[in-house]
Structure formats: structure tokens, C-alpha cells
């Protein structure tokens, strides 16, 4: 509380306070002494101004309070309260100095008709979960494309389980359905659901459905418990929640990786459709056949290319050999004795074809044959001539030819 007012200081006319001083002082005292608080009461005299601000009174059997809720606060609400509605407000007590009225500046307003205290608890738990990052959209996991094991936490004899089983049986009977019975309503529901979740967290399960059929908003309580929400957030596999109403989202819905409007919808979200997968297999089969065709065509093309390369390399070699052959034969031609004979030389040979190289091989009277460029001549030695001095290096055949 602020400083107590000294009433006697203002007892004389000279010391009188102005109205503004009083209201300013009163406002300071109120704001210092009363922190923001939750107030419960009935709405009356509700009026929404063009500015978007709301003005109304909260009252109970004995008293009433003026309230204002500014546009920047009330735009988040789904609807305006109506006169006679029981509400909770979270408000800052203050003094509206222009009118000298004690007033609540309302920051949050909850209708008891929409869940009342439950809603209050919900908002608190939601704030705590948000603070811990558990509602972060980045945490949401994708569903496995082809789940092998699907677990369901739900009431063992409810319509929810029948629906889930029917849908999974139709869409994806390859999966194994693991049912973990839990009490989803009543005082034991929270503990029962938590223990079911705990058991599943230790099982090899690909996706989990937390399901629940219809029921009133109060029946959703277990799925609005912070304990259950934290257990759901901590599951090692993706979780689909199908426990809310269309209008009421539960904490379990918010924390889960996916929210489904009904248990059937949850089962659909958890599974691929067998017929679609079968059609996909058909496409894969076509691609497989086409792939083989492509592969073999590539092999054939490669063979053809290799063949071409082989042919062209053979051709190259052949041409090289041919050129070499031409060169060799020109060389051979140059060395041919016929060419030498053409230059005017002759070769002398005896009757057996032996070449006669030395003067000694030409005794007088010997007959021999002389090979010239265009044929042979029969010849006879008329007289022997003594050998030339340099006959050692010369070729006898040539010398004899002169005979």
C-alpha cells in the first residue's frame, strides 16, 4: 500500500486538493496496491465501441466493477461476451481519472460456458508447454511412409478403436496393429493414458495414434492434462492425436505431430493406401522393363562403337603396312641385279649357272654365258689375260665380262 492519506493536511480550504490530484493519487495507490489478478463475475451493460474497445461491468450479488477491454487485447477472442455470461477476466485494477471511476483494464477474458476453469488450466498448461518449446512447429515429425507397427492408445471397447482397425485393415493390412488399452475418461484417465504411453515408448512402433470417440468437453480433460501432453511430446515415434472436438483443441492435439479430426482420419493419416501403392508398383515395373531396355541398348551401342574403332584401327594399320611395302619394294627394285644390268654391266656364268668372277676362271677356249639386260649371250674365251693389279677389290664377274 502507498503512503496513507493525511486527511487533516487538507482540512482547511487553502489546503484543499484539486479533483485531479485526488484521482491521480488514488490511481497511484490502487495500481501500487493491487497487482493484476483474475476476477470472476457476470457480464452486464456490455458495449462495443466503434474503436473496437469493449466496455462492461462485472458483477456478483453484492457488487460491481467497471471494466474496459481494449481492441488490441480483445481481437484474439472468438466472440464478444454477452450480458449475463459468467466470465473470468485477468485484469489490472486502476482509476479512470476523467470519470473518477475505479476500473479494471481487462487483458484476458474467458467464458465459463466454454470450459471455464478448465480453460483457465488449459491456458496455464499451454503457456508452460510453449515456454518449453513443445508447441514449436519445427518439432513436428513426418509420418513414416510405410509403417510396420501402428500403436493405438484408446478405450478398448469404444467406437474409436473399431473405426481405426477398420480403416487400417482396408488401407494397409501389412502393418501390425498394437492396441494399448487405456481409460480415457474419468478420474483415472490421466494416469492410465500416461502409463499406456510409457509402455509404448519402449516398443518398436513406427507411429502412434491417441484416439477417443465423441464425448463432452469435460470428458476431454485427460487430454488437456499437462502431464499427458508432456508424455505425448516425449514419445520417440510420431504421434497422431484424435481426441479433440472440432471446436476444442486439446493440449494433446497441440503437442502431437499431427492432429486428426476423428479416429478414422487418424488411421488414414497413419497409413498409405494399398491400392495407390499397388499402382505405384505397376509404374515401377514399367520403369524396370524400360531400364533394362535402355541398358541393353546402351550395351549394343557400345559394342557398335567398339567395332567401329576396331575397324578403323585395322584400316589404319593396313594403310601403314601398305606404305611400308611400297617403300620396301622401291628399295628392293633399286637393288635388283636387273637394274644393274640395265646400267650396262654383264654377268658371266658357267654352264651350271655359277658366277665367274676371276681371270683364273677364264682359261682360253672356255665356253660361258653372259647375262646382259635383255637376255643371254653364248661366249668363248679367246685368250687369257693376266689379272689387273687391283683385282682384289673388284668384282671378277665384271672383269670377265670384258673378255
Amino acid at each position: 500500500m502507498g503512503t496513507p492519506l493525511d486527511l487533516f493536511a487538507a482540512a482547511s480550504a487553502e489546503g484543499a486538493w484539486t479533483v485531479g490530484e485526488v484521482t491521480r493519487r488514488a490511481r497511484a495507490v490502487i495500481e501500487a496496491g493491487l497487482p493484476p489478478l483474475w476476477v470472476r463475475g457476470e457480464v452486464s451493460g456490455f458495449k462495443a465501441w466503434r474503436s473496437g474497445h469493449w466496455y462492461f461491468s462485472l458483477r456478483d450479488k453484492t457488487a460491481q466493477l467497471r471494466c474496459v477491454m481494449f481492441a488490441k487485447q480483445n481481437y484474439l477472442l472468438p466472440a464478444a461476451p454477452t450480458d449475463g455470461m459468467q466470465v473470468f477476466v485477468f485484469a489490472r485494477p486502476s482509476m479512470y481519472e476523467e470519470k473518477g471511476e475505479f476500473q479494471l483494464t481487462v487483458m484476458e477474458l474467458l467464458s465459463t460456458e466454454q470450459g471455464g476453469l478448465w480453460k483457465l488450466a488449459f491456458e496455464k498448461a499451454k503457456a508452460a508447454l510453449t515456454k518449453d518449446g513443445l508447441l514449436d512447429p519445427a518439432r513436428k515429425r513426418r509420418m513414416p511412409p510405410f509403417p510396420r507397427r501402428i500403436a493405438v492408445v484408446t478405450s478398448p471397447d469404444g467406437a474409436a478403436l473399431r473405426d481405426i482397425q477398420a480403416v487400417i485393415g482396408r488401407r494397409w493390412p501389412l502393418a501390425e496393429l498394437i492396441i494399448v488399452p487405456a481409460q480415457v475418461q474419468g478420474a483415472k484417465a490421466e494416469a492410465s493414458v500416461c502409463s499406456a504411453l510409457n509402455r509404448i515408448s519402449r516398443l518398436p512402433v513406427d507411429v502412434l495414434i491417441v484416439g477417443r470417440g465423441g464425448g463432452s468437453i469435460e470428458d476431454l480433460w485427460a487430454f488437456n492434462s499437462e502431464r499427458v501432453a508432456r508424455a505425448v511430446a516425449g514419445m520417440p515415434m510420431p504421434v497422431i492425436s484424435a481426441v479433440g472436438h472440432e471446436t476444442d483443441v486439446t493440449l494433446c492435439d497441440l503437442v502431437a505431430d499431427l492432429r486428426a479430426p476423428t479416429p478414422s482420419a487418424a488411421a488414414e493419416a497413419a497409413t498409405p493406401d494399398r491400392a495407390e501403392v499397388l499402382a505405384h508398383c505397376g509404374v515401377v515395373a514399367q520403369r524396370l522393363a524400360r531400364g533394362l531396355r535402355m541398358s541393353s541398348r546402351r550395351v549394343v551401342e557400345r559394342l557398335a562403337r567398339t567395332g567401329d574403332r576396331l575397324t578403323s584401327s585395322m584400316q589404319h594399320r593396313l594403310e601403314k603396312s601398305r606404305a611400308l611395302l611400297t617403300a620396301h619394294s622401291a628399295h628392293l627394285d633399286a637393288l635388283s641385279p636387273l637394274r644393274i644390268l640395265a646400267r650396262g654391266y654383264a654377268v658371266a656364268r658357267d654352264g651350271d649357272g655359277r658366277i665367274l668372277r676371276r681371270v683364273g676362271q677364264f682359261p682360253a677356249g672356255r665356253e660361258f654365258r653372259l647375262r646382259v639386260a635383255d637376255g643371254e649371250v653364248a661366249a668363248r674365251v679367246q685368250a687369257a689375260v693376266p689379272p689387273l693389279r687391283n683385282a682384289e677389290r673388284g668384282s671378277g664377274g665384271e672383269a670377265g665380262g670384258e673378255a
Binding site: 493390412p173 531400364g291 541393353s296
Partner: protein, 63 residues
């Protein structure tokens, strides 16, 4: 074999056949494996009955 893995392998085979320069031998081997996996996948899809277990009966499930 797990259906997802089966399909993954099948698609890897198809991609290799489509994209890679393979020996005819290797291509044929892949094709045959693909056919076998396709047959197995279709057989799995043909399964009609959903297996349902209550948690009390599955304590022996290994991770």
C-alpha cells in the same frame, strides 16, 4: 522384408538401370533382382488380414 526398404531398393535398381552404363550381365542381374523384389512387394500388398495384438501379448517384441 520391410516394405519400405523393399520399395527403396527397387527404386534404386530402376534408377541404376536408367542412368548407368552397365554391363549386360550386371543389367540383367539387377533386372532379375528388381523383378523378385517387385513380386515380393506385390505379394505383401496382397496380404488381406490385419494382425492385431493387445499390448499384454507383446512383451517379447524386440526393438
Amino acid at each position: 522384408m520391410d516394405f519400405g526398404k523393399q520399395l527403396e531398393r527397387l527404386e534404386a535398381i530402376v534408377r541404376r538401370l536408367e542412368a548407368e552404363d552397365l554391363d549386360l550381365d550386371e543389367a540383367l542381374k539387377l533386372f532379375e533382382e528388381g523383378l523378385e523384389r517387385l513380386r515380393a512387394a506385390r505379394e505383401q500388398l496382397a496380404q488381406a488380414e490385419l494382425k492385431v495384438k493387445k499390448v499384454l501379448e507383446i512383451e517379447g517384441l524386440d526393438r
